[in-house]
Symmetry: C2
């Protein structure tokens, strides 16, 4: 029998909408071929030979989704954090990323990343590698083995970057991208390549246009950065005077929305026009609150994005963020929204736990299809949470226990993990 046929018994919590967390106690969740068949009070006849895992008093939630993380920056997470974006890139990110030219170093560094991602609460992620084709393929190989579903991109950058990292020309960058795509596009079950221009300041118009064509030819999604920092936005205005706004510089090359999807990280300072374009073209926002604090970028108005119906998920943005924990990203998103409400704009109410949970599961999951919930028809990503180490003097309900795990938990609390119905551990 397909190992992706099974039944989980116990407590469940998941999002049906932004407003609430649906909690089910003592329920049976059926998974067939990796797809949720929904909940039952008792096991229907057709599933009665499926193996049952009794989770005891633990709590199952959908796997968490990280829409924005730099695998190559994982090795220096939590160091040299006292810098702003453009300085941080020059002093920290670029010199470190250059090391991935050396495949031995890449293997050492990416193995640590893959191992920690495997044991984290994250089941799916959109990942930046570096400009290096071989190292990017190596990262894809390593992530394939974890069983997590990921999209991984070879980075493009042909201008305004240090010589030791910059690609030789738009041509060279585009050709390397095509070589990399041809090698990897059909190679994996769990990993999918994603086009990854670093951001407009690092990519010439010529390169962006070439990437737009490649995207069309290969039919692959796009990830990049957008409106993170005011200095960066001014730089884009200088570099692309013909663009109506930062996002328009992507859009003019066919790299801003449409199918297959686009994720833009940050959107801290997006203009109304930019947001309208994103909504119209289905561009996802990867909200990265910890990175936006660490790099002193600001606080994105996520309440507005939700109210206006944009597609939003969370990103850890390691190493702008220090940790891959999406629990932490949920808390950071709530806390940042409270500070923004208090200090900047009292018309935008703080996010609730329910909304942060939605962003971390269903909100980001939508980029991968029907992912991020337990409703019938969803691909079944599950993490089973054990909160025994968070001692409490009295009984708590499922929703409060979940809140406590979000605020206080870490990878130790992940007891079991399934991705699209496949058991990871």
């Amino acid at each position: 029998m397909d190992s992706r046929n099974f039944i989980l018994k116990g407590n469940f919590a998941y999002s049906e909408s932004q407003q609430g967390i649906t909690a089910r106690e003592n329920a049976w969740l059926v998974c067939a071929d990796g797809i949720s068949q929904g909940f039952y009070a008792e096991i229907p006849a057709e599933y009665r030979d499926f193996p049952v895992t009794d989770m005891g008093d633990r709590i199952a939630i959908p796997g968490l989704i990280d829409l924005h993380i730099h695998a190559s920056q994982y090795s220096y997470r939590g160091t040299k954090m006292d810098l702003e974006l453009l300085d941080w890139l020059n002093q920290n990110a670029f010199p470190e990323e250059a090391k991935f030219k050396d495949l031995d170093y890449a293997k050492k560094a990416y193995s640590i990343f893959a191992e920690n991602m495997k044991h984290s609460a994250t089941t799916r992620a959109c990942i930046f590698a570096t400009v290096h084709e071989e190292a990017t393929e190596l990262l894809m190989d390593l992530m394939e083995e974890t069983g997590l579903k990921t999209m991984i991109g070879k980075v493009n950058m042909d201008r305004n970057s240090p010589d030791y990292l910059e690609e030789a020309s738009a041509d060279a960058s585009a050709e390397a991208t095509v070589r990399w795509l041809e090698k990897t596009i059909h190679k994996y079950r769990n990993v999918r390549p994603i086009l990854t221009p670093r951001f407009i300041p690092s990519c010439s118009d010529e390169l962006m246009n070439r990437l737009g064509t490649i995207r069309h030819t290969f039919g692959i999604p796009v990830q990049s950065h957008l409106s993170e920092n005011q200095g960066e936005i001014s730089l884009v205005e200088e570099l692309c005077p013909e663009a109506d706004f930062y996002g328009d510089a992507y859009d003019r090359c066919g790299m801003f929305g449409g199918e297959p999807g686009t994720i833009m990280a940050h959107c801290v300072w997006s203009s109304r026009e930019e947001l309208q374009r994103m909504k119209k073209q289905g561009v996802f926002v990867a909200h990265c609150p910890q990175s936006n604090a660490n790099l002193a970028s600001g606080i994105a108005p996520v309440r507005r994005y939700l109210d206006e119906g944009l597609s939003v998920g969370l990103g850890s943005d390691v190493a702008g963020g220090s940790t891959e924990s999406i629990f932490r990203a949920m808390v950071d998103a709530i806390q940042a929204s409270k500070l923004r409400w208090r200090l900047v704009d009292p018309s935008l109410k703080p996010l609730t736990l329910e909304e942060a949970f939605y962003l971390a599961t269903r909100g980001g999951g939508a980029f991968f299809g029907s992912v991020g919930s337990f409703e019938r028809g969803y691909e079944l990503d599950v993490i089973v949470l054990d909160d025994q180490n968070l001692k409490h003097p009295q009984p708590l309900g499922v929703r409060d226990r979940l809140e406590r795990i979000v605020y206080l938990g870490d990878e130790r609390n992940v007891w079991k993990k399934y991705v699209a119905g496949s058991e990871i551990f």
Copy 2:
């Protein structure tokens, strides 16, 4: 030989000033009678029979200081976080604190607190209990056994509080305080009582005056809350129209500075006058950035407090904060200062790692005397940090390793702990 005579060998990091972290590699730190005798390149003759602990490649730093934590709120940390201060008190804090009337409950809840504090990176803390005399003494007994140095207060509150928690009158509250002090003031080696009026809104003028007299009689320090939230400040203006500012309402009763010391938690919205009075009278600020975000209070201008020479340390403020980790408080302090700089006041530069480390060690330690550094003459609180679980593909220096532990570490990274030279584990 006194077990507080020993030598540590290895890597050390500590603050000599706010500006820098002093790192020493392959050094010997001598402790005699619990007091630092400073560093040596080789062991002097007079100490050569002291036992030596070789820490290997680990890093020793001064124990972390928590200037503000509510032990009674520890049991519901990380739950019901989507509320502002005054609602949070009524819906969360007050009903939960009422349970500590029941000593069985108190024992269960405080044992969890004491156990987790013992294994945390914290070596000293200033702790709120509840109004209950017996439960407060029980907490003191439990904390005494941990070996941590703590100041613990029975809370006073005789107005604007729910019937089920409020003390019957100013007299009743003052008398209970005297009974509690008489029983506990000479009882412990590690625990010292501290006067703990909850805050002005909960304490009548009569009660505050009685506490001022008690303070004078018994010669004990004071802790309370100050200028945390704008609604709270307005309430104090109504309740104490004669006070020049919130802090003045404490000062008029002799509860704001002088010896022995005073700690005021938060000071998010302190006026210039209030700060001047605090500086003049040596009132310590307990900066609690996570709580100030969770309760949407705002961001205290810590840079200004440091520049003006106020005494400042960090507080976890569980359960306004969700965790007792002072590593986390350091990161929260840095991140909050960056957001404040970006969004509120570009004249107040963000805190650096060095400054946050200073606040967490020497800044808060000063409330306990010569505490929080490794310089000769300091009481020796040490935590020895093991960062093996934070894997890295290449060697890092002591300062970068420390930054990584601050951003990513938790109690798992505390390998050994000493308080005033006594080994805790």
